[in-house]
């Protein structure tokens, strides 16, 4: 039993729904009690979908248990087929139905439906949403794919995008543009927008572009094994990764890498003078493994941030994440415990968080700016405008998105100069978004955190406390902590202005 306040991932059947909803002409019959239909609103509200997800929930009740939940399931299957006429039926169970062991796959088989039926094994008490999507898509590919001649032109499949994915809609478009510029056509994109008939044609592509390992890796490995279809390992988020991606493709198929249209504004924006204020800003990065790792590379190599914390919530990515974090001199944080992540953020006191909606919330509480780089997402992460993460435009979007929550270059200096100006003070927050200003009320929480680490044994003298307030809010937490640590290490019981500046000199970077 694990106490959980918020979860980064839903149960595995939500992953199955993401695949079914992303595809066309597919229907999922889910053996589930009343209430599990809440999953529909993720798609209709957060993603603003104009259709209900193609899911029939059997809706069994307490009184059905012990009588006949199995025939309820069969009835739901038959009615769903009659009503929606899908080309492929998926059947599975949610967490409760898994316990009553009705065997949806076996039951559906007895119905003799005129379309392929794919039974899904979704172990709700062991695995989570990303696994559910990965497994569902793999099963669909395994059922529908068949050996075909490769296309005469160079083609690839885009693998991994689903419904409710972070910027999947726009990444698909951006990747298509990038590949087309290299003379590569997209054979199919799946699960997003694919029909079962499309999946039948999957093996005729020359290779697969694995866009999201979280939801497409099992299928890619199967396709490689079965049809010798190689897949790309680089996820082209960020300028360096795009370049590696193009290189990787050139090793798979015959292309001229110079044809690739990879031009992004990011390198120049990072090099321009104004961005000096970004240099060595301390960032904490957390998300799904793929997005967190690509973000860390951009942060360090393409903007010049200092990565002070890095991790992911999906255990499936733990191994590559640990290895990757080590190259930053960091121990990766692998956790799906929101409170643990919060503690970690408090401890490293970053100036910017790159995270999920969860970390955005933590940032709000602690007064630390945050940009969202990964699922789990909310309605504001589905913007009306084109805003991919992948490809050259993705790099542009990322630069803008990450810089936006920060106080801008010259403004930062002015804030330092006129700390106590009655309207131009740091607690008013960045001038370009007043609504997001951290505000005074957030301050005590950071203070509290810092205090608790020093165990309240060291006293701040009034003058020093006042001086500390003159330090910009985004580095104040760090300054307080460093000073306390310095005082503690040197056996001081009080902190004076002198101590504050001694500590500052000691920790100067």
């Amino acid at each position: 039993m694990k106490l959980s306040v918020w979860t980064y991932e839903g149960p595995p059947h939500v992953g199955a729904i993401r695949v079914a909803t992303g595809m066309e002409k597919v229907h999922l019959v889910l053996h589930a009690p009343q209430g599990d239909t809440y999953a529909d609103l993720l798609f209709t509200m957060i993603e603003r979908r104009n259709h209900r997800p193609p899911v029939t929930y059997t809706t069994f009740q307490a009184r059905d248990l012990g009588s006949d939940t199995a025939s309820l399931f069969k009835k739901a299957c038959i009615e769903a087929y009659e009503r929606f006429k899908p080309e492929l039926l998926l059947v599975g169970a949610s967490c409760t139905a898994e316990l009553i062991q009705d065997d949806p796959g076996g039951l559906a088989e007895t119905l003799g439906l005129p379309v392929p039926v794919v039974p899904l094994e979704l172990p709700s008490y062991q695995r989570k949403e990303n696994f559910g999507a990965d497994e569902t898509f793999f099963q669909i590919v395994k059922t529908l794919s068949r050996p075909l001649e490769k296309t005469s032109e160079i083609t690839c499949n885009l693998i991994g995008p689903t419904a409710l994915g972070f910027r999947h809609r726009d990444d698909v478009l951006e990747m298509t543009k990038l590949l087309n510029s290299m003379g590569i056509k997209v054979n199919i994109c799946a699960p997003y927008s694919a029909t079962p008939k499309d999946i039948e044609l999957i093996s005729q592509a020359h290779f697969n572009v694995l866009m999201y390992p979280e939801t497409g890796e099992m299928a890619c490995r199967y396709l490689e094994r079965t049809y010798s279809q190689p897949f790309t390992k680089t996820v082209p988020i960020g300028v360096g990764a795009i370049s590696d991606f193009v290189e990787e493709i050139s090793e798979i198929v015959e292309i001229n890498t110079s044809d690739a249209d990879t031009y992004s504004q990011l390198p120049w924006y990072s090099a321009s003078v104004d961005s000096t204020y970004l240099t060595s800003k301390r960032v904490f990065i957390f998300g799904d493994g793929t997005h967190a790792m690509t973000a860390a590379r951009i942060a360090r190599d393409e903007i010049g941030f200092e990565v002070v914390g890095l991790g992911c919530f999906n255990r499936e990515m733990a191994r590559p994440m640990r290895k990757f974090a080590a190259t930053f001199g960091l121990d990766a944080l692998i956790s799906d415990d929101y409170l643990e992540v919060e503690k970690h953020i408090q401890a490293v006191a970053p100036e910017l968080i790159l995270g999920t909606q969860m970390e955005r919330h933590i940032g709000k509480r602690l007064g630390i700016p945050c940009a969202v780089i990964s699922a789990p997402v909310h309605v504001q992460d589905f913007p009306a405008r084109y805003s991919p993460q992948m490809g050259p435009e993705g790099a542009n979007v990322i630069f803008d998105t990450w810089v936006h929550p920060l106080v801008m270059g010259l403004e930062e200096h002015l804030l330092t100069m006129f700390r106590e100006d009655f309207e131009f003070h740091d607690e008013a927050g960045p001038s370009h978004h007043a609504a997001h200003s951290p505000g005074q009320k957030n301050e005590p929480q950071i203070v509290e955190a810092a205090h608790s680490t020093a165990e309240n044994r060291i006293i701040w003298l009034k003058d020093a406390e006042k001086e500390l307030k003159k330090i910009p809010f985004f580095v104040r937490g760090k300054a307080r902590k460093n000073t306390e640590k310095y005082a503690e290490n040197n056996g001081f019981s009080e902190i004076s202005i002198e101590t504050l500046y001694e500590a500052k000199a000691h920790y100067a970077r």
Binding site: S4, V5, D36, T56
Partner: protein, 425 residues
């Protein structure tokens, strides 16, 4: 009073009972407002990852950094042996209570998986209550989807609370139902002005707010979804007061009148207290409801508020009813409202969502009240919708909120008329 009239309206109308896919929340969802209302309580759902995911998704955003609810997620090892699960639960509670020392009431909330594996939360609650006495009171109830729909979670919680009330022979009035603070205060002010003493509200905001029950207790529900709590109060000897629910000017007047009838408040006092706010409400409703008059309305089942709200929208705002769906109809509780509904409409209970969608497209109503899973798909097909969930989160009861309630329905129609650019999704 309405109960003296002969049965009329839709009281005896046939009810279309359906079963099939229910597009509704389970009872766990009510924790989202209950934990705000009961400020020293923590709601610990004993369930699966799905339960945890539902709670954060239904809340829409993570409103609270560390909310007073959480899920003890059952894992493979818990399912292997029952003894383990009990011990694990005790350990989880210990972990929780040591971190949250402010908690005085702990609700162990059963879920679909905990009910199916027959995890005995009643015994667990008893044991934990003994262990943490007198600091923390541990109570259990089920919010599972196999037993409860959405607001029935509050009903099950309240029923468990009532079971634990001290007996009393005091003559008193108890009001059932969690209400937003502003509404709660207005209600108590009105009752005080009417000269009523010994007025108590369940659920209590804090555990120290002592409420008792006995044969001299009269009670009335402020929410229509409290059927089980109603039965439990009756079992404890309390006497029910029936009235239409306090929505709009007339609903509020009838509700207060029924209470005053029992407690012998004079006609003069009643009029002196209610005339001004009633007139104020009537004028405000008239202004807001112009856009609603004559429009057709279809309500999908959601919170059991549907029948009383249909009464308000029909009687006080002039809307034409097509179908009024409710997840469950407690005839005694909603009877006074049901009697006031016009004949010839469809009253449905339960749901087969696909068939109900067929009916909504047959009728193409001017306004459809439905859950979040259906709203955008219906908007995309040209229908104008109102999210039902807002009705349980917003202050909508009593005189001063009557026009706000009408506005909630007017706004989507107003928007549809303002937008001149089509709605292709």
């Amino acid at each position: 009073m309405s109960s003296e009239k002969s049965l009329a309206g839709c009281m005896n109308a046939p009810v279309l009972k359906e079963r099939g896919q229910h597009e509704v929340f389970c009872g766990l969802t009510s924790i989202i407002w209950l934990h705000r209302k009961m400020q020293d309580a923590f709601f610990l759902v004993v369930g699966s990852r799905t339960c945890a995911h539902l709670l954060q998704s239904a809340a829409g955003v993570m409103v609270f950094a560390e909310p007073r609810f959480g899920t003890a997620i059952l894992e493979e090892t818990d399912l292997a042996g029952m003894a383990d699960a009990q011990q694990e639960l005790e350990r989880t509670v210990e972990e929780l209570l040591s971190r949250r020392t402010d908690i005085k009431r702990l609700f162990l909330v059963g879920s679909c998986p905990s009910e199916v594996i027959k995890l005995d939360l009643a015994t667990a609650a008893e044991k934990l209550s003994e262990r943490y006495f007198p600091k923390v009171n541990v109570i259990n109830y089920s919010g599972s989807g196999i037993e409860t729909t959405f607001t029935q979670g509050e009903d099950a919680c309240l029923e468990a609370v009532i079971r634990g009330l001290e007996p009393s022979n005091e003559r008193q009035l108890v009001i059932l139902g969690a209400l937003p603070d502003i509404v709660h205060d207005q209600m108590l002010r009105l009752l005080e002005q009417l000269g009523l003493k010994n007025v108590f509200v369940l659920p209590q905001v804090r555990v120290d707010d002592k409420v008792s029950v006995g044969s001299n207790t009269h009670f009335i529900c402020a929410q229509p979804f409290l059927g089980a709590s109603f039965e439990e109060m009756v079992r404890r000897g309390a006497k029910p007061i029936f009235a239409p629910f306090p929505f709009g000017a007339s609903g509020t007047t009838e509700w207060l009148k029924a209470i005053c009838g029992i407690f012998g408040v004079s006609k003069e006092t009643f009029e002196a207290v209610t005339d001004a706010p009633r007139r104020r409400a009537e004028i405000a409703i008239e202004k807001v409801s112009k856009i609603l008059t004559g429009r057709s309305l279809f309500l999908f089942p959601d919170s059991q508020l549907e029948i009383p709200l249909a009464r308000f929208l029909n009687q006080e705002c002039g809307m034409k009813l097509i179908e009024v769906g409710s997840p469950y109809i407690h005839k005694q509780l909603v009877g006074p409202d049901l009697q006031l509904l016009p004949e010839g409409i469809i009253i449905s209970e339960g749901q087969d969502v696909d068939k109900q969608l067929d009916r909504v497209f047959d009728h193409m109503p001017d306004l459809t009240v439905c859950g979040l899973g259906l709203a955008n798909p219906l908007e995309a097909k040209g229908l104008t919708t109102k999210w039902a969930i807002e009705l349980v989160f917003s202050p909508i009861h009593f005189y001063e909120q009557a026009a706000d309630l009408a506005s909630l329905f007017a706004r989507p129609i107003n928007r549809s008329e303002k937008l001149k650019i089509g709605r292709v999704a």
